[in-house]
């Protein structure tokens, strides 16, 4: 039987890996399919990456923190994954990013399997394997394999964090309530929180769902000290890395260390430094004096502590959801009123009235969100049981696991309504379901329920002809065929580059234009995404060039209003994208008149 320690004890020899792959062939196959899908799907043409993130990542990779008007505020947030994606895409070898993303995404199935085996006891190995495999094959996950959406990268730290939480449970020598009574366990829980912090550091939008994960943490740790250790581990690592990055940006771009800010944190400048410093100091303090602090835990009734902490965490999630709704970062998918909240939780992705998507840009068919909502309700029932009955205390881990895994879906439907923002938690749904099935009861019934859940979860995989089968990957700009080459090949890049004179200032206009800039590799050119004012145009030594999306050429008239005369405009119809290029003259008389 494989355990978390199998590889630790037996090593990473090829023979051992081959032996494990043979024994756990379902998980191995799921990993292989993930890698295969990533390569077969070809070049990633994810809209957000081509529209903004490639240029942003390339710019930051080259140490240039001035984003020239394209998503300038994004530079303050942790951009590590965007830089990684841009660096890979800019190699000019299409399969390098496909292979790298596929290899990382292929870790999901084995990670989920190891977690499942660690936290769910008494169920057949094949069920663990099947649930782990399905966790990466359901459409909402599968459509992101090999793409730069980032959610599957962000899924891994969440799975690993839960795995570390499970390991800390193994060191919990008094499972009935005296948890977190030793420093080793406190450190383990802090580590688990720290690993969870990697998720939003990789994918900043995952930060929004974190308050919902925390609802399950008191049950998972079973103690005040453990919950604080986990939370401090998360906050200290997240803020330490995010603030360090913001400090680098402040020094490189804006000049003042007191100017720092980071998305999702309501304080900036000195307040942010103070907050990060305090949390890091508190984490070290807790780790150093955990034995002393655990006295506090021993003097409190565990069930009362867990109940109060859960209440605080739930209130925190509610405040976060209210903030997200009021901020309305992306209001396209909002659940407008409480009456449509439950129907949205039951939504499986089909079009409303035959034309309208409800929670994603594309139609799909996936049962993950409704099943997660169902599990969340079941988790609440178990949690209440744990609170009310001593005999249920041993089930607190199940309650915590289910809430940790499934609460983000319920939270996200209310807070943003945008399904994509919770997809990094989908791989956990199967583990949550198995955990519920591992509760006390008649074994045949538990196996039947697990099988039933698996059937419901895999419905989109075998019920052919539904909407999800009509597209390969999420939000690609080219749906019709897979591409096994660069979006813009060397010959096309060369042609475009030759049309941009030495030392030009290029004003970039419209969507889906910026991704070609990193491929050009022209450091003599000044790129600018902002509409210049007449004064700025007048100061230019040479007439600028306009690089634009041909489908948005009507926006060029705004540049004419600022004193530019469009001389000759060419539209380049490359194989996979179209770009426009206008040479200009500066109309100094118009600028003077203005």
């Amino acid at each position: 039987m494989i355990t978390l320690k199998t590889f630790q004890s037996t090593g990473y020899g090829w023979r051992n890996i081959a032996s494990c792959a043979a024994k756990y062939w379902i998980v191995a196959s799921a990993s292989a399919v993930t890698l295969w899908r990533s390569l077969v799907a070809g070049t990633d043409a994810y809209y957000d990456f081509l529209n903004v993130k490639w240029f942003m990542g390339w710019r930051l990779w080259n140490g240039n923190f001035e984003l020239a008007g394209i998503a300038s505020s994004r530079k303050w947030g942790p951009p590590f994954l965007d830089i990684w994606h841009a660096a890979l895409a800019n190699t000019g070898v299409w399969w390098v990013p496909a292979l790298a993303h596929g290899a990382v995404h292929a870790l999901i199935a084995p990670s989920v399997f190891l977690l499942s085996r660690a936290v769910v006891r008494g169920l057949p190995n094949i069920l663990h394997q099947a649930f782990a495999a399905v966790s990466v094959l359901v459409p909402l996950v599968a459509m992101q394999i090999g793409t730069t959406s980032g959610h599957l990268y962000a899924a891994l730290p969440i799975v690993w964090s839960l795995t570390l939480l499970a390991r800390s449970r193994e060191t919990d020598n008094s499972y009935s309530g005296q948890s977190c009574s030793n420093p080793q366990q406190t450190r383990g829980l802090a580590w688990a929180g720290a690993v969870l912090a990697v998720s939003p550091l990789l994918k900043p939008s995952a930060l929004a769902s974190m308050p919902a994960h925390f609802i399950g943490v008191p049950f998972l740790t079973g103690s005040l000290v453990g919950s604080i250790a986990f939370l401090l581990g998360f906050l200290a690592v997240y803020l330490a890395v995010a603030v360090t990055w913001a400090a680098v940006v402040a020094l490189a771009a804006d000049g003042g260390l007191l100017e720092i800010r980071t998305p999702g944190v309501p304080v900036d400048g000195f307040g942010l430094w103070f907050l990060a410093g305090t949390l890091v100091a508190a984490l070290f303090g807790l780790l150093k004096y955990s034995e002393w602090v655990s006295f506090l835990h021993r003097s409190l009734r565990p069930r009362l502590v867990v109940a109060l902490l859960t209440l605080v965490a739930a209130l925190g999630a509610l405040v976060a959801a209210t903030h997200l709704r009021s901020a309305a970062y992306d209001g396209r998918w909002f659940v407008d009123d409480p009456a449509s909240f439950v129907p949205r939780l039951a939504h499986t992705g089909d079009l409303q009235y035959g034309f309208n998507t409800l929670d994603l840009e594309v139609p799909y068919f996936d049962t993950s969100v409704p099943l997660a909502a169902l599990l969340a309700v079941a988790g609440i029932v178990v949690a209440v049981g744990v609170m009310l009955r001593d005999s249920w205390w041993q089930d607190r881990w199940t309650a915590g696991l289910v809430l940790f895994s499934c609460a983000p879906f319920v939270f996200n439907v209310w807070a943003t309504g945008y399904t994509r923002y919770a997809t990094q938690s989908i791989p956990l749904i199967g583990v949550a379901a198995l955990s519920m099935c591992s509760l006390r009861g008649w074994r045949p019934l538990k196996l039947f329920v697990a099988a039933l859940f698996l059937i419901a979860w895999t419905l989109p995989l075998w019920w052919a002809g539904r909407t999800s089968t009509s597209f390969e990957r999420f939000a690609q700009i080219t749906y019709e065929q897979n591409i096994y080459e660069d979006i813009v090949n060397d010959e096309e890049v060369e042609l475009l580059s030759d049309l941009i004179p030495d030392g030009s200032t290029v004003f970039v206009v419209g969507d889906l234009t910026s991704h070609v800039i990193p491929r050009l590799g022209r450091f003599d050119v000044t790129w600018d995404f902002l509409l210049p004012k007449g004064d700025a145009v007048a100061e230019l030594q040479t007439p600028p060039v306009l690089l634009f999306n041909p489908a948005e050429s009507d926006r060029l008239s705004k540049y004419e209003d600022q004193g530019l005369i469009l001389e000759s405009c060419d539209v380049l119809r490359f194989r996979h994208v179209s770009l426009g290029l206008c040479a200009t003259q500066i109309d100094r008389s118009q600028i003077d008149r203005a």
Partner: protein, 185 residues
């Protein structure tokens, strides 16, 4: 062995980063002659044969003649994404293009199936109220080697606003191709 657990992924990661760093493109600015040659290549790509139907779908040669206002071509044609769009093409020396026949399909709602489209050349203007389905429209040309045909729409709408499908992009009509009719001297 425990150290190997971290060392192997780290080595792979660093190697990949090293490769990525080395492979980042750096391109020198073009010389004047290279810019001039590039312009010639762009102009040449707009030269089309006459008396033959020319698809403007993805991959077709005549897609290069789609100018301002068109989205990137799809498998069967290209959507016009704003109120005006341009097709620019040239013919061989000695050929006199007298007309062009364009094949279009408007984006219309299931209930209100009307889209006013106007085609303009230097000597002709044709307005037609399209009601759905592909239509071919004939427009006279002035015989010059270099031609510019403008297409004007009374409105652009998105399929989602017309309750057709989830696409949120705004379209007027899709052009599938055209045929240049000429007197060959």
């Amino acid at each position: 062995m425990r150290a190997l657990r971290f060392a192997v992924p780290m080595v792979v990661f660093v190697a990949l980063l090293g490769f990525a760093a080395a492979a980042q493109p750096v391109r020198e600015p073009p010389r004047r002659s290279e810019t001039a040659n590039a312009r010639i290549r762009v102009d040449e790509s707009k030269s089309v044969p006459v008396d033959r139907y020319l698809s403007v779908a993805a991959g077709a040669d005549a897609r290069s003649t789609l100018g301002l206002g068109f989205l990137h071509p799809e498998a069967d044609g290209a959507w016009m994404g704003q109120l005006s769009a341009v097709i620019s093409f040239g013919v061989e020396t000695g050929v006199t293009p007298t007309a062009v026949e364009l094949e279009l399909r408007p984006l219309v709602a299931a209930e209100s199936r009307r889209r006013l489209v106007t085609l303009v050349s230097s000597i002709d203007e044709v307005s037609i109220e399209m009601t759905g389905g592909r239509e071919r429209i004939l427009l006279a040309l002035d015989g010059e080697e270099s031609q510019r045909v403008s297409i004007l729409c009374n409105a652009v709408e998105s399929p989602i606003s017309l309750e057709l499908n989830p696409d949120r992009r705004a379209f007027c009509a899709k052009i599938y191709g055209y045929k240049v009719i000429a007197d060959v001297g």
